[in-house]
């Protein structure tokens, strides 16, 4: 046996050929954005461009308003405030989608958490009790989602659709279909307080986004999320507990919904079973516009945030131009399409454009 080893060819020193091979893969051949996360960054530039275009449209259509710097600043804050609740939900959604799932129940969870934290009983515990309740309810529902998907082996679409229906039903049951007014000034203050001239809601959004970014890009949890969504079999073979991870992803989404519930309740100074209607659609759309792959394995938090902001800027644009609802809808459809197209064409170099040209679209 040992003779086999002896008789085998002597180890060649391969430097020459190696260098040759190296040339082939030399990073210099690739543009900078080909690097880690660069593609996402490029995409996000496209989203920023879209945002700029929207603002320019605003300036062109309402020069009177945009002439006033105070108004512009206030309007920017309004847009961000408007984006804050959906933004927080979208961060959780982005994780779930990157991890290969989908969460249709987010709006329902926000409603359930909001209703639960504004019951008379809960309100008697004060702001702390209310916040704790909202977060716990969100987390718990998220965990149930996760268990259904990972251990119940339900398709995420179906599991969370079932949860959507059930959670809204439960919220209606708890609130007896009434709108529950929040009498807690601390909670209500969350929506009306400004710190250094910037609304508290915006700080919360920024904090959640920052935490989401760190979690996705700098922790093992985040990196494993990409693996679980991108190639679950590979993740399993690499020793990752895919099921447990899946549960954690839905739990995270639920927690974000709990936070969003507090924010929304504060904004409305009340909660009701029908609130946060269709937030799931907004959140999924924002994530996807932001470059998250619906099939999992790819996505960025910043992209999702930009997606949310683009949507709320569009809404704002319509409001300041007082477009009728039907015109709004028609234009909105067009803007969404245009936004995505701009992203694709503007920043692609020719080769990439051609390369993509031959790639099939799903």
């Amino acid at each position: 046996m040992s003779d086999v080893r002896e008789s085998s060819l002597p180890a060649q020193s391969p430097p020459v050929e190696r260098a040759e091979t190296a040339k082939v893969d030399a990073p210099a051949k690739l543009s900078w954005w080909r690097g880690d996360g660069g593609e996402g960054a490029k995409r996000n530039l496209g989203l920023l461009a879209t945002l700029v275009v929207l603002v320019v449209i605003g300036i062109l259509t309402r020069p009177d308003l945009y002439g006033d710097p105070n108004w512009v600043w206030g309007n920017t804050l309004t847009i961000l405030k408007l984006a804050s609740v959906v933004g927080v939900v979208t961060v959780g959604m982005t994780f779930v989608i990157i991890g290969g799932g989908i969460d249709l129940s987010v709006g329902a969870i926000v409603a359930l958490a909001g209703v639960w934290c504004t019951t008379v009983a809960t309100q008697s515990y004060g702001a702390g009790g209310m916040i704790f309740t909202a977060l716990t309810v969100g987390l718990a529902v998220g965990v149930v989602n996760g268990l259904l998907v990972s251990y119940g082996r339900l398709v995420p679409f179906i599991a969370t659709l079932a949860m959507l229906v059930a959670a809204r039903g439960l919220a209606a049951e708890i609130s007896d279909k009434q709108t529950q007014v929040s009498g807690n000034t601390f909670i209500n203050g969350i929506a009306s307080t400004n710190v250094l001239g910037i609304p508290l809601l915006v700080y919360i959004l920024v904090a959640v986004v920052a935490a989401g970014w760190v979690l996705l890009n700098r922790t093992t949890f985040g990196r494993r999320t990409v693996a679980v969504g991108g190639n679950p079999e590979a993740a399993r073979l690499a020793g990752i507990n895919v099921r447990r991870h899946t549960v954690l992803l839905y739990a995270l989404s639920g927690l974000c919904c709990g936070i969003a519930a507090v924010m929304l309740t504060a904004q409305a100074t009340s909660a009701q079973a029908a609130m946060a209607n269709l937030y799931e659609l907004d959140a999924i759309a924002a994530a996807i516009i932001g470059g998250t792959l619906l099939s999992g394995g790819r996505g960025t938090i910043i992209g999702s945030l930009l997606g949310v902001i683009i949507f709320s800027t569009i809404t704002n644009l319509f409001a300041i131009n007082n477009l009728s609802a039907e015109a709004q809808n028609m234009v909105k459809g067009g803007i969404i399409v245009a936004a995505v197209l701009v992203q694709q064409v503007q920043f692609g170099s020719l080769t990439q454009f051609l390369a993509r040209n031959r790639a099939t679209t799903t």
Binding site: Q267, I320, Q328
Partner: protein
């Protein structure tokens, strides 16, 4: 909604400017107006009426903002409205409680708020409240049904109900009025199938109801718009053994009642003409005038329209008010 394909007869639901002292042109008033996006006839009529009524005054400028799909969107729209500093705001909120904070904000900023239809819980959040009587609608519908059944001598009637969007508080008030009044006659609702104020949902809810109740004595359908679907379901199921009462008072419903060839025998009003009245009163508030028939120098704080019962006998009188 306007269930015919003709132009909506908003003129009938507005008050011509030109009779009485109050209608004389006065100080210019700019009125901000916001109502949810119209996805069904009643809301569409509200917006149309408001615009038509404002158009009838030379001294009124209407700035309307579309309120989008939910309370959050409406809040966003309203914040742009405030920045345009109207003299008065007329507002049909998605949800009174959710927009209470906005009412307070505007009032604090010195802009009187006229709340249309969906009340703010906080009295400081509005200058004037004008709305229909949801509970009263239920009462009226139940009263009509109970009297009819009593007259027929039905002792243990099977009564069905087709409400509108279940999660709205107004739906619950209507149902409560209905149930309370029926109870006073010793009756109860056998089955309740909510629809969504749309024709197709009305058809489906009614189909479910008929399936559950092989024999029915009376049905109350909360909304004449979805009632088109309900009547379609009645024909498709070939069920004629019961009487039906509608809600809101659309033109088509009134025509059907007058013709008396369907199960629809009556409807209880909840008229979108309240929007016209709201604009008129907002104008007076903006000009600091009172209602000329009242002694008070100012417009009152709260007006609740009575829900009237339209039957074959009086349908022709109300037809012009149908939307």
């Amino acid at each position: 909604g306007c269930t015919s394909n003709e132009q909506s007869p908003t003129e009938a639901q507005t008050k011509a400017a030109g009779s009485g002292a109050n209608t004389e042109p006065g100080k210019k008033v700019s009125i901000g107006f916001s109502a949810p996006a119209a996805d069904h006839g009643w809301i569409a009529a509200i917006t149309n009426n408001a615009k038509a009524q404002a158009g009838a005054y030379q001294d009124v400028e209407l700035k309307s903002v579309e309120a989008g799909a939910d309370a959050a969107a409406q809040r966003a729209a309203l914040s742009t409205l405030i920045s345009q500093k109207p003299d008065v705001i007329v507002l049909l909120p998605h949800d009174g409680k959710e927009l209470n904070a906005f009412g307070l904000e505007a009032m604090k900023a010195g802009i009187p708020v006229v709340n249309l239809d969906r009340a703010f819980p906080d009295a400081r959040a509005y200058r004037l409240q004008i709305k229909g009587d949801n509970y009263g609608m239920g009462v009226a519908a139940a009263t009509y049904i109970a009297e009819q059944l009593k007259a027929k001598g039905v002792s243990n009637p099977v009564i069905g109900e087709i409400p509108g969007i279940e999660s709205l508080e107004l739906t619950q008030e209507r149902s409560k009025g209905f149930a309370d009044t029926l109870a006073s006659y010793g009756f109860k609702v056998a089955n309740r199938r909510p629809a969504e104020f749309t024709v197709d949902s009305g058809q489906q809810a009614a189909t479910g109801l008929f399936q559950a109740l092989p024999k029915i004595d009376a049905v109350w359908n909360h909304d004449d718009d979805q009632g088109i679907g309900v009547l379609a379901a009645v024909n498709q199921a070939n069920r004629k053994e019961f009487l039906m009462v509608g809600g809101a008072g659309s033109k088509k419903a009134m025509e059907d009642i007058a013709a008396d060839n369907t199960v629809l025998k009556a409807t209880v009003t909840y008229s979108p003409s309240m929007a016209s009245s709201a604009i008129s009163l907002a104008r007076l508030i903006g000009q600091g005038k009172g209602m000329s028939d009242l002694v008070e120098l100012q417009v009152p704080k709260e007006i609740v329209l009575a829900s009237e019962t339209i039957t074959k006998e009086n349908a022709s009188d109300y037809l012009k008010l149908g939307f």
